[in-house]
Amino acid sequence: MAKAAKPPKPEEITKTLDYRKTPKGPWIDTKVEFRPGMYCYGTRPKYLEEVDMPNPREWSTSDEDWKLPENWKEIFLEGMEDRLRKHRSFRLFMDICVRCGACADKCHFYIGTGDPKNMPVLRAELLRSIYRRYFTTGGKLLKRTAGARELTEEVFKELWYYAYQCTECRRCSVFCPYGIDTAEITIMVRELVNLLGCNTDWIMGPVANCYHKGNHLGLEPHTIQSNIEMMCDDIEEITGIRIEPTFNRKGAEILFVTPSGDLFAVPGVYTAMGYLMLFHELGLDYTWSTYASEGGNFGFFTSLEMAKRLYYKVYAEAERLGVKFIIGGECGHMWRLWHQYLATFWKPPENLETPKSPITGTVFEHASASKVVHVVEFTADLIRHGKLKLDPSRNDHLRVTFHDSCNTSRGMGFFEEPRYVIKNVCNHFYEMPENTIREKTFCCGSGSGLNASENMELRMRGGLPRANAVRYVHEKYGVNMLANVCAIDRAALPTLMQYWVPGVEVCGVHELVGNALVMTGEKKRTMDLRLEPLPGFEEEEEEEE
């Protein structure tokens, strides 16, 4: 394996970006160059074997020979034909693009790399040229004149390279006059390369883990429990209240599922502490599950079938435990899937009911079919009904801005709920510039399974537009906290901030809730959830000194 290259300095990246410049010669003749730092390592065979996926073998993306099976071309083209028949989006988006260029400068990877093959239109053309050559009469006859090209190993590698430089964020599809969604095309390319065993290690590892152990990180049941108990220790230290959550408990009213990243890594754990404190304060009859212990789904970055296989656990566990509905934690692609795919993948079991808040009595009609409620929707409803005692001044040392995650924005329409919650638990909230938030939000640059470390330059480049907007509010309003509702954001944005905007930290919305939440019987708070002293709430003894 090639050694991970260190990303260049920030100014080395920005100074070389020139959107007016295009490479010499037509793109069709420009060969793909695998630049270290811009791609992830190929998957180890064991992961593929663990979930019965094709072509497990030792290989490396930097190798000349990817060890594709002899009939790889046939497999690829047959796979493509099959998908053209099964997905209207795929066939339509192959056919109707007029190459108007409206999408060209909307992609964060294009803005951060200046590589024209990262323009959504051209990313799609990489595959469209194959489509023309093998599936249209014009392309078969006129070949290159019709914009068609042969599928060669070189071309296959190019498709791979750029399918893993797309985070499926859908920003381009907002601007496309026909709604062409590059995510749909990237999803198809990734399915096709997976037919030949060409996934990345960073995606395939979590997939195999999640399949067998229930979560991406491979946390075993007792580890999940002890991680959460450690959080409870911290909560006790902060509030004086001992929380005793339950696991795999039958007969609970609610099953709570969140991305496993929040059980393991900073700053995600602080968000999980926020959930624990909130649910305890409400006296919610809920349970965690060690079997359905993953809200996220790296299967979605592999194939739709794998996404379906991994999500079997959610409803199956809800059925086994006999809960009434499910609350899902803060996560981006998880909510794109729970909102748009979950109830299509699997039929919600009969024991589930239309979610109804046991605290406020609100019936979540908008989740009447899938029976899944977003924890922020749940909390927003609580605040609206005045059910929470909040002291937003505990977050006064924070100047907060909110990063809309791509998936919840453009695959769900989730904008006001998090803002409502944040504004009720913080006194200082500032929006980033209009063209960089809500449906026009920029990706963190590390979504869709690209948050590895060997592709750091790609991540820093892809995150440039997001970071740039954060820098704007950091400089203008002194923003020092970037709130979000996504586990990948919580994992990826701290690095991005360190690189582009030092001085800005990252948190989940429920960390802010946990800080502001006044719990019954709690001791005077002197620390925030990070166990750092709360400015303005220092221990009295210190003040006396």
């Binding site: 028949r85 907002v174 695959g411």
Partner: protein
Amino acid sequence: MGVWFSFWVVVGLILVALIGAGLLNLSVIFGVVFPYLALVVFLVGLIYRVVQWGKTPVPFHIPTTCGQQKSLSWIKYSKLESPATGWEVFLRMFLEVVAFRSLFRNLRTEMGPGFRPVYGSSKWLWLGGIAFHYSFLIVFLRHLRFFTQPPSKLVSIIDSFDGFLQIGHPHLQLTGVVLFFAALYLFLRRLYIPQVRYISLPADYFPLLLIMGIAGSGILMRYFIKTDITKVKELTMGLATFHPKVPEGIGVIFYVHIFLVSVLFAYFPFSKLVHLGGVFLSPTRNLANNSRMKRHINPWDYPVKVHTYEEYEEEFREKMKMAGIPVEKDIEEEETEEKEQEEKE
């Protein structure tokens, strides 16, 4: 890539009509056979495409949400950008088709001061697109007067509005000129915007040049190289009533015009121009954002291999028990069961 190729193809097509209809006097071929053929190819081809898309399933519910979802009753949701009902989807689609709403959002990314990208409003493509498509639509409708006798009221009204400036004789009709210049604008932006030039194919230049040829030959015919309009109408009415006849003495410019139109019609179903039909079928735009309210069914859904709870517990039962996590099946229970089983046997 391919500007000159497209240019020479269009020039070639014009020459074919000039030679065929002018020198070789093949007026029946150019005036009757080609138009009929083109129309058949257009209709059959376009219907085939639309039916093919329509028959392809939409396995997942994937609208692109560009506004607030319908969730809690006190949060106002965006009916147009995140439609929750069929009617709201209709409105979203309507504005998409008649007003190019998504394109209206267009922004331009530029490297601003201090090497920081900035995003400014950019409406030129939208404006060019609107001018192009609407003038084309009106020109198309205006031409219906050649195919009905007497011309329908609507067509006459359009005609008189189009010529409201009352310049020259016959009155200058604005849309023909707008069509030509809008197509020219769309063509020139392909040449001069580096990114757009980089992505452009012959299939992008050709239709624009062809349409400029059509608009250009139409304008020439109407204002400069006068053609006998009554004879033209005799021919077109013959086509419309399926009693084709070709009057003598229609200028060759007419045959150039009608031949380019025929080529456009025949080319249509095989090209990107099918976006005309495709835009209505786009699943990111024509679905309501209601997938948690109404279960979307995948018609080709199939069983997949899963990892069940039983398999999971089998692997971790001891660890779960040690941690005090409830299990379905106690090992001791299991052992007694097995013993009982053995005893029975």
